[in-house]
């Protein structure tokens, strides 16, 4: 458990409900799932994309294909941070040209991760359109980016930390808001796992 006081803002069942709602909204908004692919941003966007795909499959009979994107090659702070982040594979098992893509991530914060993800996707082809689904929108955007589907809007202060824990990666499902406890959290050097 990280330092500072933490408050649980979503538990396992509310995470599940939020994802179910997002799945319904995706269908409502796009009518058809033809040519739709879900792309999860590493690390926790990937299990979220898989869960969303399973839910869409149950609601709509056909499960959309999923892929995973590592955005580290596209970060805008590579020349600023000490030591390059560990690279993981990008695997998009469908044709990106002409695809309809829902990008999936756990937390929307500055928007810089999404900017990098958009560049990464565009390098792979020209999708028809890209939408964005996030579990938590915590505000503090630094670039003009917004989400199409949001599990929960959480007002935060900049030095707080939002920790999404998912069973597939962390062993349990919950979202914690960690209050700043003096030094450490407001570091200007983001850790490897930090959202940009």
């Amino acid at each position: 458990m990280p330092a500072g006081k933490s408050v649980r803002i979503l538990d396992a069942s509310s995470i599940d409900r939020a994802l179910t709602r997002i799945a319904h909204e995706i269908i409502e908004r796009n009518k058809s799932l033809d040519g739709l692919g879900l792309v999860g941003i590493r690390t926790r966007g990937m299990p979220m994309a898989l869960r969303l795909a399973a839910k869409l499959g149950r609601i709509h009979s056909a499960e959309p294909t999923t892929g995973v994107l590592d955005i580290n090659l596209y970060r805008d702070d590579l020349s600023l941070i000490a030591a390059h982040p560990v690279l993981k594979k990008t695997e998009i098992p469908f044709e990106v040209d002409g695809a309809k893509i829902v990008l999936v991530d756990d937390v929307l914060f500055t928007g810089r991760t999404i900017r990098a993800a958009l560049d990464g996707l565009m390098d792979l082809g020209r999708p028809d359109w890209i939408q964005l689904a996030v579990l938590v929108d915590r505000g503090h955007r630094e670039v003009p980016i917004r989400a199409d589907y949001v599990g929960k809007n959480v007002p935060t202060s900049r030095d707080e930390q939002v920790d999404v824990r998912l069973k597939e990666v962390d062993g349990n499902d919950e979202v914690l808001l960690i209050r700043a406890d003096g030094a450490g959290l407001a570091s200007s050097e983001p850790a490897e796992e930090d959202r940009q």
Binding site: L73, Y74, A83, H84, V86, K89, T90, D119, D123, G125
Partner: protein
Amino acid sequence: MRLRSRHLLGIDGLERSEIDLILDTAESLAEIGTREIKKVPTLRGRTVVNFFIEPSTRTRSSFELAEKRLSADTVNFSASTSSFSKGETLLDTARNLESMAPDFIVIRHSQPGAPHFLARHCSCSIINAGDGAHEHPTQALLDAYTIRRHKGGLRGLRVTIVGDILNSRVARSNLFLLSTMGADVTLCAPPTLMPPGVEKMKCKVTHRVEQALDGADVVMALRIQLERMRAGSFPSLREYATLYGINRERLELAAADAIVMHPGPMNRGVEITGEVADGERSVILEQVTNGVAVRMAVLYLLAGELGREAAA
């Protein structure tokens, strides 16, 4: 996880975890080579000097492709076009290169230790692309990457290296890497092409190729240079081919799923027959493809170390 140095001067001294990190990173970067647009912006604005004092086509173009796929800017100097051929010392050349503020110098040189010398005098990152008969670290890394892709891992594998061990930087770097990773290495060459003191290294040594190939999972043939014959290391190329050449009959002695490797350039019919080089067990061209991804991984990780030192 990171590398401990901002230079890649050799495999000797790298830890197992660092080798794993480079190979894993290469695995992630390999996908870029399969894209329609083979380029990512990661090293935008970084400058790489490719300083090749010894002839090389494969290694130099592989480095250049790796640099370009990461969006770095590249400048090439080769022996014939540089002032080096006009009598400039290595130190002066290095200082002049350094004055152009590169982030990396990739150096190929006939003198062992030339990259280490540059590393002492330059503030940029130095990558050894082959120094005399000393080391060729990126070749060993791409060999390991290729083996790992086919065999799943390196630990416990039986790797046989046949050829001019004495003059081969590839053999040396491979031996360091494979023994660090727990592979079981056998070196095979005529006594005149085996370095003195080799028995002290972590490997088996034999002069009989049949014995070396018996049960091998990986067979690596090394280039035999014509100059060596002139120097009297063996009587004739034909005799070498007869006694040590990798041919179909000899390959039967290796494991049923053994792969055949060669760092290039090949002498068909000398250290390896054309039939084996083009055969279904040959991964020689894959080695070339994998070289680009491995060199991208080295550049990516070393650029991170440059950033770390700049921040410190």
